[in-house]
């Protein structure tokens, strides 16, 4: 453990970054998933096709590749645009934090699209009719009936999507984000102890995934409370 002396705060701040990326990408992932599901369930053929293309592409290509394409693709484009105005510019990029969060949210959002679509289809249409018959607007019905009912069905796979997200944050070190893996690599460079450093990173991720798993379990219990009491 003495090898770790002096590196604790690097790992700590790296973990904070992992937490931040997770938080931002979780929100984006839910947004992408809901938009994707809404498009797939819409009556518009065009929207359906676009959403189909989205899920096929992002579920069918390696995550690392998507991350690199988005980061370098956006950097090449931005650099070209910047050079139009100032030819001395060498390289402009989107900050790795945002490029990374966006990329992993886009990838996991393609899985969430399918999860949300299935869960919305699992809502009993009779309950929606009952809400409309009482005079609730479609927006009220969405928030008070559809979402709470689909939520229960979506939670178990959604927990898996959150685990995917947290693990995917590790990929972002490759485009230079100062997270835990990045900290480990620097520590390895200085101490020559790769095994120790990678174990530390592993423990940090296990900590994160344990918190997620426990949270999802608690949420599932809450979402199924009406079924629990019936037993």
């Amino acid at each position: 453990m003495s090898a770790l002396t002096g590196w604790w705060d690097d790992f700590f701040w790296g973990s904070v970054v992992v937490g931040q990326v997770f938080f931002v990408s979780l929100i984006l992932m839910v947004v992408f998933g809901l938009i994707g599901a809404a498009a797939k369930l819409s009556k518009s053929r065009v929207a359906q096709r676009i959403a189909d293309a989205y899920t096929v592409v992002f579920r069918g290509t390696p995550e690392l590749l998507v991350l690199l394409l988005i980061y370098f693709g956006s950097a090449v484009t931005l650099t070209a645009i910047a050079q139009l105005f100032d030819p001395s510019v060498k390289f402009v990029d989107i900050p790795p934090f945002w490029a990374g969060s966006f990329s992993i949210a886009l990838i996991v959002g393609s899985y969430a699209t399918e999860t949300f679509r299935g869960a919305f289809m699992g809502v009993n249409p009779g309950h929606i009719e009952a809400a409309r018959a009482l005079g609730l607007s479609s927006v009220q019905t969405f928030f008070y009936v559809r979402i709470p009912e689909m939520w229960r069905l979506a939670l178990p796979p959604f927990g898996n999507h959150m685990l995917s997200l947290i693990k995917d944050t590790a990929l972002i070190s490759i485009i230079g984000l100062n997270e835990t893996l990045f900290a480990a690599e620097q520590a390895i460079g200085a101490t020559g102890k790769p095994f120790t450093m990678y174990i530390v990173v592993g423990c940090i991720y296990l900590g994160f995934s344990t918190i997620i798993t426990l949270t999802v379990m608690a949420l599932e219990k809450y979402a199924n409370r009406h079924l629990e009491r019936a037993r």
Partner: protein
């Protein structure tokens, strides 16, 4: 009697409804006055549900006129939510919101649609639970109740909106036989209190005791409309006779 007592509260005139090429309602006309109780019967697939679902626009009719409580239902009815809030509907399969307690099921629409405050909405909910005789179930979830209790909650939920009209679509068809009467009793009470009701049901005892008119549908058409005594004792149409012989046989 003042004019609004005798004026019809629901009018259907020459209503047609198509599902794709299939015509589910054919030139249906019906008028219901305030306080009237209409029982609708007919074979499965004859368009009974479709007709009452058109009245609160869960289905959109294709031609003809539907006027509910002074509002004509058209594509341009932009305040359909307000019209619906004046019409209570009870479904065969109860359709309670499973994730809410009984009390919250009852409070939801008054709070969201009528903007009633929480205290009043709860008082209203408890009052109607009392009326359907299950005040002690307020804090349970629907799944914990029997079918008969769930249906009574569904009736109370509709009543909490203080509707002008109540629509019932085979409210007892999904119930075990021993639970049918507890639901019918509540409906009879409601009828006695003067509620305007359209009930799709094959409970002929209920029809005889509360109906002002019995409407018989077959093949998307209204075949016969008559007072209950006339309907059961001396039906005019052959199809009505056949139907009655079938349902009274078992």
């Amino acid at each position: 009697m003042s004019a609004n007592v005798t004026d019809p509260i629901i009018v259907l005139e020459n209503v047609d409804k198509f599902f794709g090429p299939f015509q589910a309602l054919k030139n249906v006309s019906l008028s219901v006055r305030k306080g009237e109780k209409i029982v609708v019967c007919g074979p499965s697939g004859s368009g009974k549900s479709t007709m009452i679902r058109c009245i609160n626009r869960l289905e959109e009719h294709n031609s003809g006129t539907i006027i509910v409580n002074g509002h004509e239902l058209t594509d341009k009815t932009n305040d359909i939510d307000a019209v619906r809030s004046e019409i209570g509907m009870v479904f065969q399969s109860f359709n309670l919101f499973p994730h809410m307690t009984v009390l919250r099921n009852l409070m939801l629409a008054p709070r969201l649609v009528r903007k009633t405050n929480k205290v009043e909405a709860e008082a209203l909910a408890r009052q109607y639970l009392e009326r359907v005789r299950i005040p002690e179930q307020a804090d349970k979830y629907p799944i914990q109740l029997s079918g008969g209790q769930q249906q009574r909650v569904a009736i109370a939920r509709a009543l909490c909106m203080k509707p002008e009209v109540m629509l019932f679509d085979e409210p007892t068809s999904a119930l075990d036989p021993e639970m049918i009467s507890e639901v019918l009793d509540v409906m009879v009470d409601l009828a006695r209190e003067g509620m305007t009701m359209i009930c799709v049901t094959h409970e002929m005892g209920f029809a005889r005791s509360v109906a002002d008119k019995v409407v018989f549908m077959d093949g998307g058409e209204i075949v016969e409309v008559a007072g209950p005594t006339e309907f059961f004792e001396s039906p005019r149409n052959e199809r009505t006779k056949l139907f009655l012989s079938q349902i009274l046989a078992h």
